[in-house]
Amino acid sequence: MIDNFDSIPPADSKTLKATQKFNVIAHDIAKIDGEGLVLGRPAFADDLAPANALYVKLVRSPHAFARIISIDPSEALALPGVACVLTWKDCPRVPITRAGQGNPEPSPHDRFILDEYVRYVGDEVAVVAAEDEATAEKAAMLVKVQYEVLQPVLDFEKALDNPIVIHPEPEIHEMFPIGFEPKRNIAAAYNMEIGNVEQELAKSPVQVETTVHTQAQQHVALEPHTAFSYIDIHGRLVIVTSTQNPWHTRRLLALALQMPLRQIRIIKPRIGGGFGGKQHIHIEPYVAMVTLKTGKPARLALTRREVFEATFTRHEMRVKVRLGANSDGKLNAIDMQVLSNTGAYGEHALTVFMVAGSKTLPLYNKVNAVRFGGHVVYTNKVSAGAFRGYGAIQGLTGLESAMDELAHKIGIDPVELRRKNMIHEGETSDVFRIMGEGTEGVAMTIESCKLEECIARGKELIGWNPDRLVWEVAPGKVRAMGMAIAMQGSGLPLIDMGSARIEFQDGGFFKLHVGATDLGTGSDTILAQIAAEELGVDVESIVVYSSDTDNTPFDVGAYASSTTYVSGSAVVKAARSLKKKLIEAVAQKFGVDPAFVIFDNKTFKTLNGSKSLSLYDFSFDTLYHDGERMKTIEATESFTGAKSPPPYLAGFVEIELDKETGKVEVIHYVSVADVGTPINPNLATIQIEGAALQGIGLALYEDVRYSERGHMLSHNLMTYAIPSREDVGRITVELVDSYEPSGPFGAKSAGEIGIDTPPAAISNAIRNAIGIRLTDYPFTPERVLMAIDKAKTEGAN
């Protein structure tokens, strides 16, 4: 137990060069919704649901794999207050994916809203709606379902070509080639090779092979998935929901319910965390079905147990990495082979798996050959989906563990091994061009990469000494250090698109409408900062409204670390365009050429100072006073990245390991990141701090456990503990000066990168502490102690 938190003081905020350069950007502006959230003002879907909404409950499968023989709703329907019971027979027979991704989705359409088959414990069987929650719960229990129980496939190592086929249904299909072979239980597959890996490995005097198994992980956003729906005055279906991607939700729902897109409106209110867990349609189809059937508003808030058992987890993966190097540490070849478990359905199956390679292998771009491949298999477990890190964390855990093994074998400082081989500014990697998200990638040259600075500062902050990476603090207790580096992306180039509309209002303020979805990260605030900086006004002059398919312009949503880079660039363009229009309008009013008008300090002036007009006055002129010239001045712009500049991060950890019990504690975690210009340094820092703790949770505590028959055992916060305030001694995050020319005011992404390093860095520290490479996550006290004991026994023999 850590009891001296004061031993490492919290980091001082460092001054960034960018802060001097800008008025609003790189300044710590308080989140615009912060006070309202702290005061608990109605903000989340469940706070806003109409009082007369029907309560929706789902009947869920108690079996890991079964065919539904019959459903008898009569007893449930007989209960006073029950409005309807809907089953697979009430659903259009259209295969869909629940993954909130671009169109066409790189995920197989292998799922029906409700189906005759259930493929994991918790899979939806029937939808019940009633006037109050207790009645809905009771009714759900009264729905009689007869099952033909089938033998499930639970071990992902045994799924490939298993005689039990999880998806035999004929209608399911891929949207474009992703290696989908359901008859073999393969949801997706991919292989690529640059150069000749076997030859390069054979030539290399030093070779290592490391296999790691990273477990499924639960997102545990504090707000459970929640939605309500109603029919509006025009007879259209409106759904207010905790989603990360309103437009994808609308498109997927239209397909699932066989409705025209124009008949659906999706609104995202405040949402209580996402981490990828709300990048799917988990609940929207069910409230929609009830509203469409009954004409009444309907609400559904999943219980925490349902969130655990029946939304998504992180993909469990087995990652095997082989490295070949010269005796001085120069890497010649990397081979990464991955087996990924997508669970019952293939949401994000291909893309998460691809990222395990595409956002890790370019880190070491000087190799002569690199190979990546493997399968994503179906099992009868809860589906895996998007989760912060999205494959990169799994791939990096394998790669960065192997790198430390190589350092041990050669006998050099693991930091120096990385510096010798890692990517730098002005360089590229063929992997960028070859591997994309289900399609080919996009070639890019790295224009900003401050990994050297991140590593140097990280070493200072943790006190890295390669000659003293382990030391004893008490009999049986050692401290040790480890490190890892990481990269991520900033949106999906030429796939993700975001737009922004800015409209000039009377009173001289600006309405900023964005399709981007703030998950609680502060993106509304960040986008307001970007608009304010470009327009040359203060943040208070920007009023943000976001994430409403009727009232804001299109945006793919918040995922793939895209909002600041993609949506933020759209805001820059819109603000620039609006400013031009404002100046043109004022120039016309002044009767001068626009080139002679400047806008500064909320005032328009001619260059010679002869004419001047305040923004405030002009706002009334253009809307009320200027006769034929009156008009709304607004601009809408869109952006898609031609590249996806990676943020970079160096993670360092100091652990304490109790050799008698196997308990590992994180004393200090240091993350130093290059996120380009942080639009809001505080918010970027917190993203990285929060991600680090989530990564530490994966490394040490969190595990999704099942019974032998496929029932989830860790189905609530009593059986699945997330890190508390007392688990980790100190997390220190620093941002280094960096500027990404392609990003808004030099920004890259910050949302995901922070989660990537802890599993490998902690593994490397444990390796330094006890000389053993642990491979099965999480590193619970039992696993650590058993590894120590095993090594002792083997040493004795």
């Binding site: 004061d6 308080a30 959230l37 005061l39 989340f44 469940d46 956003a221 917190i686 701090e689 100190r730």
Partner: protein
């Protein structure tokens, strides 16, 4: 059955069943600042003060609250706004779902502990889980807040 509670200084007569927990009864009565996060008494989002003591309303029978004084974050809005300034100044409010319960516990701690060490702060607040912040920003905010309000 009906219960009479004194919530944020206001007398409320509310309908409930004997097995109902306070969270649901409060939310139904419009006190949606009381959040429901976990169902297992694990997360702290539903924290309210009963007779000035922070308790989990999800684990407190509504009938047991009959006749008692209950405070939600709205009942201490002025103090909460002050704390919100410090929390948002660090960006540590994040998604804000846990914030009302968390802030209420911070205000309670301020009354109960004199000059707490960081370990004491973390310990007092360990029942308030947050998945966004990694807790560090919250700690920075709390330390600055306590310093400011003690001066």
């Amino acid at each position: 059955m009906t219960i009479t509670i004194y919530i944020n200084g206001k007398r409320e007569i509310l309908e409930c069943q004997p097995g109902d927990m306070l969270t649901e009864v409060l939310r139904k009565a419009g006190y949606v600042e009381v959040k429901k996060g976990c169902d297992t008494a694990s997360c702290g989002a539903c924290t309210v003060l009963i007779e000035d003591k922070p308790v989990l309303s999800c684990s407190y029978l509504a009938v047991r609250a009959d006749g008692k004084r209950i405070t939600t974050i709205q009942g201490v809005a002025e103090e909460a706004k002050k704390f919100a300034q410090f929390l948002t100044a660090e960006g540590a409010d994040q998604c804000g779902f846990c914030a009302p319960g968390f802030a209420l516990t911070v205000l309670s701690m301020k009354k109960e502990l004199r000059n707490p060490s960081e370990a004491e702060i973390r310990h007092y607040l360990s029942g308030n889980l947050c998945r966004c912040s990694g807790y560090e920003g919250q700690i920075r905010a709390i330390k600055k807040y306590l310093e400011a309000v003690h001066d």
